[in-house]
């Protein structure tokens, strides 16, 4: 009888132990709509679930502060200030300082005051149209990041001028989220703010995160980038665009010099750097600059890596990505050129 009892207990124990088969170490994931995009987050570490919940709350709070369209946001208030000095929070002053520095650094290829021109094209309202040259000339006369005065916690934006943090906000928020997760003791996380990817450490098994890079010319992927503790952001003209009656395509990345969609030889720019805000700002700025100026900028600064796709389909990679990037099998035959610093 004793044997029988042991036999049953053993069998039951095996059965019960299987209830825990699917569980591993504490891992959490979360997805939601915010910042005008679809956000997914995954993390492994102590209290990962709670850490991601807190991250979502802070993303929503920053969205409320930085939205350009929500009455009540700090940016909205600044844009409606009629040229008067406006007090802003420390968070907002910091991101504004960063975007103004990047505008300066990229010689205005990135300009946070382009917003009224973007609106004239309908990219902010989804009622697309080609504005008249006269309208563009008038609006362009207000586009000038140098006219923004930021002193401590006070910003002054001239009448008719409007600021928008859209070109850096997602990357900047990615950095803040990554920092807060690290502070919680999380050593492995991936935050994807609609294609704006931020990695904390490597995957839980120690291998690098594998990030697909979209083929800007067709469906599917160009290849895969392997990254650890880096942020990857891509700017391209292939998603948010419209076509006029003559078949001309107009995309949403505008050249602050002309007020027209930037057409300087590139169709996609992917930037990899340790900082999401830098990757985000540079992906737009380098797209506007075009291939030659982008390469010059990289040579002069070098604190990031990039993957460019030119209008004729050539892929240009900077040296640091040579081993991190693998071309998709279906992309065999595509020309890939690796750019190195002159000293190398």
């Amino acid at each position: 009888m004793r044997k029988k009892v042991i036999c049953v207990i053993t069998a039951v124990l095996i059965l019960l132990s299987c209830a825990g088969c699917g569980k591993q170490e504490e891992a959490a994931d979360r997805s939601f709509f915010a910042l005008d995009t679809y956000i997914t987050m995954q993390a492994v570490g102590p209290d990962a679930e709670q850490a991601l919940e807190t991250a979502e709350e802070s993303i929503r709070e920053l969205e409320r502060k930085w939205s350009v369209t929500s009455p009540g946001s700090e940016i909205y208030t600044v844009n409606q200030s009629g040229g008067n000095p406006t007090s802003i929070s420390e968070d907002t002053a910091e991101i504004l300082r960063f975007v103004l520095d990047m505008a300066q650094d990229t010689d205005g290829a990135l300009d946070p005051t382009i917003y009224p021109v973007l609106t004239a094209w309908g990219f902010t309202t989804d009622s697309y149209q080609v504005p008249s040259q006269e309208e563009l000339d008038t609006l362009l006369s207000y586009v000038d990041y140098q006219s923004i005065q930021l002193t401590g916690g006070t910003v002054t934006v001239p009448v008719e001028c409007q600021i928008d943090l859209g070109s850096v906000a997602k990357g900047y928020i990615g950095d803040l989220v990554a920092d807060s997760l690290r502070k919680c003791g999380i050593t492995s996380a991936l935050i994807n703010l609609g294609g704006n990817v931020q990695a904390v450490g490597a995957k839980a098994d120690g291998s690098p995160w594998r990030i697909g890079v979209r083929d800007p010319m067709a469906n599917g992927n160009l290849g895969v980038l392997e990254i650890t503790d880096q942020a990857v952001v891509t700017s391209g003209g292939y998603e948010r665009y419209f076509t006029d009656a003559d078949g001309n395509v107009y995309w949403h990345i505008l050249d602050p010099q002309t007020g027209y969609p930037a057409r300087n030889g590139l169709i996609s720019v992917t930037v990899v750097s340790p900082e999401g805000k830098r990757s985000d700002a540079l992906s737009t700025a380098l797209f506007v600059m075009g291939m030659e100026r982008a390469i010059e900028y990289w040579c002069a600064h070098g604190n990031f890596e990039m993957l460019l796709v030119t209008e004729n389909g050539t892929v240009l990679l900077t040296g640091g990505l040579e081993n991190a990037f693998t071309l998709d099998e279906e992309q065999n035959g595509r020309e890939v050129t690796v750019i190195h610093h002159e000293a190398e």
Partner: protein, 120 residues
């Protein structure tokens, strides 16, 4: 004697059930399975390797998306939103970004993607 046989059979049955349970918990999830979610709620799970060609209309507060499944691929065929970003995304790629229609809170994604994330 008879009773002890019964015990052995019972133990074997419980053991088998346990092993089967383990295998079920650890079963590989299909690499061709896609999920269609709206507002975070799972509406459809489709195994693209087995699904017949079909068109699914998904309404959302007076608007809708028409989703097409064809030759083992899935895309948004038509959308009533003005920006058409979900249509421009074309067929879903298992190494790319999910197809997202923001205005209609719609997400189409692989249950198990070929990459950890995507940029583009």
């Amino acid at each position: 004697m008879k009773q002890s046989k019964l015990w052995v059979v019972l133990c074997a049955a419980i053991l088998l059930l346990g092993v089967a349970g383990c295998l079920w918990v650890l079963r590989p999830t299909g690499g061709d399975t896609v999920e269609i979610l709206q507002d975070g709620k799972l509406l459809y799970t489709l195994d693209l390797s087995r699904s017949e060609d079909q068109v699914i209309e998904i309404p959302y507060t007076g608007s809708s998306n028409i989703i097409q499944v064809q030759d083992g691929k899935i895309r948004v065929l038509e959308a009533e939103c003005p920006d058409q970003i979900c249509v421009h995304m074309g067929y879903l790629s298992d190494t790319g970004l999910p197809i997202v229609c923001l205005p209609n809170r719609l997400v189409i994604q692989y249950q198990q993607a070929g990459t950890d994330g995507a940029t583009g």
